[in-house]
């Protein structure tokens, strides 16, 4: 049974995803517990996988017993083990949060679809990460995306429109990726990633290959929300239910980033993407623009979730930039940021969800300093996560910044260094805007005497424990992972570097 562990996380999610509608035929509450069980089991197995990959090196799992390149292969190596562990852990924490949040935000007859879709989404995400087959990746991409469209549409009144917009862009992205796969297949005659890598090694680059790489970059770039392809993201994040935003923001774009890292750095190879076709340069420039654009747009927002959405565009840019500079430190920084940003954004979206549940809104201009009294823990979690976003040690953000800075200096990309560092200042601008609102009395209100009415007692309106627990776990993780970063980098990420860096 344990020899099957590489395939288990996606399979567990798939099973739960299809079992939930059957089980919930009679017992509605069961869907939550099934989802919780599935995420915890998947988290366990992905950690187990990670330790396997670290001790034994890369493991290949053959579906149906067919030998690759004929059959579909799952590849477990430190990189895929790391990313699955990250997303399953975050999913596990967010699912705890979903219990109450979904009960309050989503109408009862949609609870079962919610959990089923989350499971399918996670199955897609895990599948994308584990698979070693180009077409299989497409299928999982679509499984994940289609469930995500459904999940987004569970949100507020505008959510179907946001979901529809995402659907159009996402499907075009998937289509471009599929076309890219087609061209790769024309060139190499294989769909197995490892096989393609070996075949390409002996092939001189040809126009179809260039077309294939371009199409794949566009397709996956849409999923990752790289700068000019990010249009779907702000609306989708804003209008989705809190739990969905919190699960989509840390996982959704990261799997796009992972797919880009996997396909371009491991399969096409570093030499091809730097010397033959400037994929890496394009990625890094777009990411740099995206960082600045996302940060500036985030400053202009008046709604926390929307602000976080634009901030996500910027943060995904960090990952793209780290990959694009093509240096070991940059790559490590990008991978570490997948973990770090996942934790930060999940935490921030959970807090935004807490605000929505308790205050009925998450608009910055309507927050006031009563929050520090009424929701002390949520506010504190927000502050910790905001500090992490700014990159204050000892939270995780500092270390992302550190490795990314090392990466850019290593390759003498001074402009990118400036972009990364300036962006952390821009982060400070828009996060401190919220923190000021949350902690300090608004002068206008005080003057008008509005603020003087009875201040709520400490923690009086704090959300219930099952909402608070995941928020605090993530906030704590931001600091703990900060202290563990060297360990993570040394034991995991150093082994996950592609050849040729």
């Amino acid at each position: 049974m344990l020899s099957n562990s590489p395939a288990l996380p996606p399979l567990i999610y798939l099973l739960t995803g299809i079992f939930i509608p059957l089980a919930a035929w009679k017992w509605k509450k069961l869907s939550f517990w099934l989802a919780l069980g599935a995420t915890s089991a998947a988290t366990f197995f992905s950690f187990f996988n990670l330790s396997q990959a670290l001790s034994q090196g890369s493991v290949s799992y053959r579906f149906g017993g067919w030998i690759p390149p004929i059959g579909i292969e799952y590849v477990l190596d430190p990189l895929s083990g790391f990313v699955t562990s990250v997303i399953n852990f975050i999913a596990f924490v967010v699912i705890i949060y979903a219990y109450r949040s979904v009960a309050q935000e989503i109408r009862e007859f949609r609870w079962t679809p919610f959990y089923a879709l989350v499971m399918l989404f996670l199955s897609g995400a895990n599948g994308i990460i584990m698979t070693g087959d180009f077409f299989n990746l497409y299928v999982f991409l679509e499984i994940g995306s289609l469930s995500l469209y459904g999940l987004i549409a569970l949100g507020d009144k505008k959510s179907p429109v946001a979901a529809f917009r995402y659907l159009i862009m996402g499907t075009v992205g998937g289509g471009f990726y599929l076309l890219g796969v087609g061209f790769t297949y024309l060139v190499t005659g294989s769909l197995n990633m490892g096989d393609v890598h070996h075949i390409l090694f002996n092939l001189s680059p040809s126009p179809p290959l260039i077309v294939a790489m371009t199409l794949m970059l566009i397709g996956l770039g849409i999923k990752m929300a790289v700068f000019p392809l990010h249009g779907w993201l702000p609306d989708a994040y804003t209008h989705a239910p809190s739990a969905v935003s919190a699960i989509m923001a840390p996982i959704g774009t990261k799997i796009g980033a992972y797919a880009i890292a996997r396909i371009f750095f491991f399969i096409f190879g570093v030499k091809l993407i730097t010397q033959v076709i400037p994929v890496a340069q394009v990625l890094s420039w777009l990411s740099a623009i995206g960082i600045v654009y996302g940060s500036i747009m985030a400053m202009a927002q008046n709604e926390i979730k929307r602000m976080l959405a634009y901030s996500s565009i910027a943060q995904v840019g960090y990952i793209g930039l780290g990959l694009g500079v093509v240096s070991p430190y940059g790559f490590i920084g990008a991978l570490l940021h997948i973990l770090n940003h996942g934790l930060m954004k999940a935490c921030l979206f959970l807090v935004a969800g807490n605000f929505r549940l308790k205050l009925g809104h998450s608009r910055i201009d309507r927050l006031d300093d009563s929050l520090r009294q009424s929701m002390p823990w949520s506010s504190a979690a927000f502050t910790v996560a905001a500090l992490a976003m700014i990159g204050v040690p000892p939270t995780v953000g500092f270390f992302s910044k550190w490795y990314l800075a090392l990466g850019t200096i290593e390759t003498k990309n001074w402009l990118f260094l400036a972009v990364i560092l300036i962006s952390s200042l821009l982060n400070a601008v828009y996060f401190f805007r919220v923190i000021e609102r949350m902690y300090f009395p608004s002068q206008k209100l005080t003057k008008a005497g509005k603020n003087s009415f009875n201040e709520p007692k400490m923690g009086k309106r704090e959300v219930s424990f099952s909402l608070l627990l995941p928020t605090l776990i993530l906030a704590l993780a931001l600091v703990v992972v900060g202290f563990l970063n060297t360990w993570i980098v040394k034991t995991i990420l150093m082994k996950a570097l592609p050849a040729g860096l």
């Binding site: 299928v139 679509e142 289609l146 549409a153 009144k157 659907l167 087609g182 297949y185």
Partner: protein
């Protein structure tokens, strides 16, 4: 040069279809027409794969009797076909989800025209 174009005529048709699909998605204001554009786009990709698998003087890859010796050149490549079977299913699912979303949208805003929809959404914001 002309040979190159004529020799790949199927791909040019695919390209035209792709562009039509993208055009529909970008230009059309009616959301249903966008979905139609999306479907055309997906069909173009499917056709691309199918076109890539064809050969002259080859037949469907069904073996009447698996004891005879297999001549790979005599059959067209079955792999793209099976892949496209999956892609078709994905396409169906996408259309299903998109229509469901459109129905939800229509119920809430009573329109499927993009400009009108945006107008109503911003009116709602203003309230």
């Amino acid at each position: 040069m002309i040979e190159f174009f004529l020799g790949h005529y199927a791909y040019w048709f695919v390209l035209i279809l792709l562009v039509i699909g993208l055009y529909g998605m970008i230009i059309k204001h009616n959301l249903v027409k966008k979905v139609i554009g999306l479907s055309i786009f997906q069909v173009a990709i499917i056709l691309f794969f199918i076109a890539s698998s064809t050969k002259w003087e080859a037949t469907v890859p069904v073996l009447a009797n698996h004891h005879e010796k297999i001549q790979a050149a005599a059959y067209i490549n079955p792999l793209p076909h099976t892949l496209m079977l999956t892609a078709i299913v994905v396409g169906v699912a996408t259309s299903g989800v998109s229509f469901a979303l459109l129905i939800l949208t229509y119920r809430r805003y009573k329109t499927l025209n993009e400009t009108e929809l945006l107008k109503r959404m911003s009116e709602e914001d203003a309230e």
